[in-house]
Amino acid sequence: MEDKKFETPLIEVKNLKEYFNINVGAFKTKPLKAVDDVSFSIKKGETLGLVGESGCGKTTVGRTLLHLYKPTGGEVFYNGDPVKTKSQIKEFRKKATMVFQDPYSSLNPRMTVSDIIGEPLDIHKMYANKKEREERILELMAEVGLNSEHASRYAHEFSGGQRQRIGIARALALDPDFIVCDEPVSALDVSIQAQVINMFDELQDKKGLTYLFIAHDLLVVRHISDRIAVMYLGKMVELADADEIYNRPLHPYSKSLLSAVPVPDPKIARANQRIALEGDIPSPLNAPSGCPFRTRCRYATEQCACEMPEFKEVEKGHFVACHNIDKAN
């Protein structure tokens, strides 16, 4: 049964592309296709997890979607409306924001907590007077469980978990609908990680927030996500419900990726059959022709070298880009 709150897509991304021009000689550049023709949508109140190996383009998807980078191609829709013109982008940015991975480097150590959280309010002139600004900042601090007495302290005086709370309070300042969470707990100790994950959960329940949750810890992603998308070398290769993709991954890459996750249970871990992957990920500057995974795929055929497989819905809600799904399963 479909959950009602998930009916309208809040975010829709169609054929998104982000190419970076990289210098390869004194006067020569080459496009690095960090994100190449990626499409997905996220329903209101939903959490979409985004996983894949380092450099596959997860952060770039998040940044390009928010128009922190100008898309090389493709379209983004917010609540059904295009995000295209300058004013549309400005409005969108009030409603869509980002929490970053590293709570140590993403906050300016010379700013006080109150200035860090208040900065977005200043930029968008969201208050009538000083008192209103102050009140809003304290309200945000309370929301993420920070002690209001700490408002005038500097970010470097806080522990990792507290810094991540500061980052989240800042992201909440403009009362957004949508947050791109880019590895928000990766730098935290396990016990602190759980505190922050719970907070994302609670904020979502309370405010109906929608998340794009990027992480390389697949157990964390599974815990928090309704659906999960897997990327490889700038392409999306699989997208399905969280349970479905864990229990029945269809793409050969997802299968190896999920089988490689170390399970924190000795009996299961010892019995686990990992599907080993040979070789390293190719450089995105020299991506293979056809299917990007073909250099490491045991099911690759001739067709895989010449044709990029289409990202299509093979079962209801389960999208896969592979020519040989039948053979691989």
């Binding site: 190996e53 349970d243 170390p262």
Partner: protein, 340 residues
């Protein structure tokens, strides 16, 4: 006699703010061919334990007590000459970030050969052959080409494998791996862990695996040490630690990790903030964060108590439960202050 016997190891850093007791009475045995995991919160003393064994501490750090015996030979106070023959030869270490331990200005081949000639009496030609052989052993493709390349020309996973090759070049008895895969992707991590496991079986090497990833521990380790605030709070076989944790910190740790069963539910984090080693509480160091803390915990650290042949823990709960079940005699003489 065990291969490595660490007894009541104490290591401190002498800082302007005071003495930081980073390792405060750690004891364990490591048997030949076994994998010992060390887990615990950031700052709990895992790396300092490893660095103490290797005696590669920062200049402010000092082993202030205890004993480290390798094959029966005392290493504490043995002097730099002895340690030079131990390091790389008998015990090797792999660090978390391979870039900090590979020299960016020398080729892979140069660095491997240096490690080999330093610790064995192979000549240059033999060292070259051995280096190539080691690269093959750790599954680095095109080893002859890699020998001439610089670290930055290799991927992260490949650099980590080169580090392992370097650590293994002299066939150490013990490999210490300090967060060896934290910076790597899961598929590369799986390759490296499998490689370590197969080498361990082939060479009969013992491994000390330091990690915060309980999944890695579950997969790799025979025995596990759980550290909190510089001391061991629990110790036992992997199965005992995972399925029968008997210290409240370990229990909290196990509860706080997401698993396949937690989706859609709340996690149970450990509350409070990590310990400040300069302001250690008097009793159990975990007491300020422990939901089960009793009066006795605040005044006295828990007794290190045997749970069974494969398991020991330092928690008053075990005394309390044992007394209630009539299995444990009332509290030790020296702990008379406990009212519980």
């Amino acid at each position: 006699m065990s291969l490595l016997e660490v007894k009541d190891l104490r290591t401190s850093f002498f800082t302007p703010a005071g003495e930081v007791k980073a390792v405060n009475g750690v004891s364990f045995f490591l048997e030949r061919g076994k994998v010992l995991g060390i887990v615990g919160e950031s700052g709990s003393g895992k790396s300092v334990t490893a660095y103490s064994i290797m005696q590669i501490l920062a200049s402010t750090g000092k082993i202030v007590g205890g004993s480290i015996k390798l094959d029966g030979e005392e290493l504490v106070g043995a002097g730099e000459k002895v340690m030079k023959t131990v390091r790389g030869n008998k015990i090797s270490i792999i660090f978390q970030d391979p870039m900090t331990s590979l020299n960016p200005t020398y080729t892979i081949g140069h660095q491997l050969m240096e490690a080999i000639t330093l610790h064995t009496d192979r000549n240059k030609k033999q060292a070259w052959d051995r280096a190539v052989e080691m690269l093959q052993l750790v599954n680095v493709n095109e080893p002859l080409k890699r020998m001439k390349q610089y670290p930055y020309e290799l991927s992260g996973g490949m650099r980590q494998r080169v580090m392992i090759a370097m650590a293994l070049a002299c066939e150490p008895d013990i490999l210490i791996a300090d967060e060896p895969t934290t910076a790597l992707d899961v598929t590369i991590q799986a390759q490296i862990l499998e490689l370590m496991q197969s080498l361990q079986k082939e060479l009969g090497m013992a491994i000390i695996m330091i990690t915060h990833d309980l999944g890695v521990v579950a997969q790799m380790c025979d025995e596990v040490i759980v550290m909190y605030a510089g001391s061991i709070c629990e110790q036992g076989t992997a199965d005992e630690i995972f399925y029968n944790p008997r210290h409240e910190y370990t229990k909290g740790l196990m509860r706080s990790i997401p698993t396949q069963n937690t989706a859609g539910k709340k996690l149970h984090p450990i509350t409070g903030t990590p310990i400040d080693l300069l302001n250690m509480p008097e009793g159990c160091p975990f007491a300020p964060r422990c939901d089960a803390a009793m009066k006795v915990c605040i005044k006295h650290p828990g007794p290190f108590m045997k749970i069974n042949d494969d398991h020991a823990a330092r928690c008053w709960m075990n005394v309390k439960n044992g007394m209630e079940a009539g299995e444990v005699e009332p509290v030790l003489e020296s702990e008379k202050g406990g009212e519980e």
